[in-house]
């Protein structure tokens, strides 16, 4: 099975968030970067499928130079080759890059790079940890004219195509079948991720990494979705100590859990 896995590089979860001077994005200097976690699960699922069925796993990522480290990580974990869509040129603001594109334009870039590969399956994470739009995979399917499903935890090959386990709300699941080629967006936690190894990193050095220039993929069309500004959330997390008698404190807590935290 030939599988394309679209991955994104995002700021490390730990990374300190400092808003840039123009309030349009965060300060990217000194930031540590990592593979978007749901994409890591997509990659893992692809690698497991390849180990079972044979074939090829191609990682695809768009972004500036720095994305190379995440691509190498994917190659180290077992992807066979990689395509890097370099898109510094599209930079609008300071630092620039992907952020000035909306999900549709990014998906167009990915679609342009995917199409010539004619993969059997395209996998990507459900959403990114930075922007969290959760749309790129679905739009990519639409642009490629392929069936899709989201929130997938596990994929199996069937005679007619694939069967996937999809997460529904409130602890329910369903299995969904579709013909190939298809696009699936993977939910985190469906399988165990593998750790990066020294052997993997060394082997990755010899694998093919193709670089495409975003400008040449001619995406066209100005974005329809514009991120005007960013700010720190109005409420910062801090511990609320609830006072009063045990009875009063209990009542306040139940109320807060219902209305404020919304977990009841």
């Amino acid at each position: 099975m030939k599988i394309v896995v679209a991955i994104k590089q995002v700021p490390e979860r730990d990374a300190p968030v400092r808003i840039a001077a123009n309030a349009k994005w965060i300060e990217e200097r000194d930031l540590a970067w990592a593979m978007n976690e749901p994409d890591a699960y997509a990659l893992e699922e692809a690698l497991q499928l390849k180990e079972k069925l044979g074939g090829e796993v191609i990682v695809l990522s768009a972004g500036p130079e720095r994305v190379g480290s995440t691509i190498r990580e994917a190659l180290a974990k077992g992807a066979d080759r990689a395509i890097h869509i370099v898109c510094d040129d599209l930079a609008g603001g300071a630092g620039g890059g992907l952020r000035n594109l909306d999900a549709l334009s990014v998906a167009k870039l990915l679609a342009a790079a995917t199409k010539p590969e004619s993969p059997d399956l395209v996998l990507t994470g459900l959403q990114s940890e930075d922007l969290g739009l959760g749309q790129t995979g679905v739009i990519l399917a639409e642009l490629l004219g392929l069936p899709h499903a989201t929130l997938i935890l596990h994929v199996e090959k069937t005679d007619a195509g694939i069967k996937a386990k999809r997460e529904l709300e409130e602890g329910w699941f369903q299995s969904i079948e579709m013909p190939l080629p298809a696009v699936l967006t993977m939910q985190s936690g469906g399988t165990k991720l593998r750790y990066a190894t020294l052997m993997g990193i060394k082997r990755a050095k010899t694998k093919e990494l193709r670089v495409l220039n975003a400008a040449e993929l001619s995406v066209g069309a100005p974005p329809v979705l514009v991120l005007d500004q960013i700010a720190l959330p109005r409420k910062q997390k801090s511990t609320q100590i609830l006072g009063g008698s045990p009875k009063e404190a209990a009542a306040t807590l139940v109320d807060k859990l219902k209305t404020e935290a919304r977990v009841l």
Binding site: P179, L242, A249
Partner: protein, 323 residues
Amino acid sequence: MSVFLVLEESGGHIKRSSWEALAAAHRLAPVQEITAVVVGAQTEALAQEAAAKPVAKVIRVEHPLLASYTADGFSLALHQLLQNQNAAKWVVLPHTYQVRDYAPALACRMGQVLIGDVTGIDDGPVFQRQLMQGKLQGTYRHSGNGPCFVSVQAGAFRAEPIEAPQQTPAPIELFSPNLASAQIRTRPGEPFRESAQTVDLGSAQRIVSVGRGIKEAENLRLVEDLAAALGAELAASRPICDNGWLPLERQVGSSGHTVTPRLYLAVGISGAIQHLVGMKGSQCIVAINKDPDAPIFEVADYGIVGDLFEVVPALTEAVKAAK
């Protein structure tokens, strides 16, 4: 008719989150410009439920192929509807798993991008949504022509003010999209739940966890009652399992399970690092401990400093009363 509100159904009724989306729609346009849309194979009852709400019109998008949800069926049908009713300026949806599955494709067909998981709408209009896992708030705006798709985070808007039924129900129209079974490429199966394992802390939505503060095995009854009232799984810190008061499979922490429930209620747990690493990813953490300096309070969202033998029974009562 500038706002199309796509309602979602569950078990024969419109979901609550759809009414929250209606509240959001009211921020964009007056009632007389809001059209509610129900989709399915048999939508009459749903349409009547919607017509009682403050909307100008209800459209039933009905087709046998829409009996169960498919991304292909829903995006095809709604695309046809929106093309047919080209007055749509806003398309508002609840940000459900189903909407996340098809709305981006629907928007794409119209050259649009969904503004998803919106938590607030301000003048402009501009839309608030969370970035970087909630560490930042982003303000988005729609640019260009064509309908703007917005999905609304559950709980972000209050559905209560619009719950009162209207005097006269809104008119209901039928729309029959053109669908062929070949166009629907995916075959969804029936929903199922995982076969119930004895204990599955990893996927539990609510967890009540107990620590050394409980003192005696006999006192566990107190937290068991609380867990039952909350519909939560019972878990424990290592000393409790070490003593054999609860089985090892209920241990949370570095040598037990790592859990990420929506609610983690820590009772009599001081918060040793081995425990913290196993539960720090929980969405909402509540701590009950008699020591105000206990480290658990540092990671908690809500804390009650007090005697758990008084607080826990009171909390159990309060939870039961709230139901």
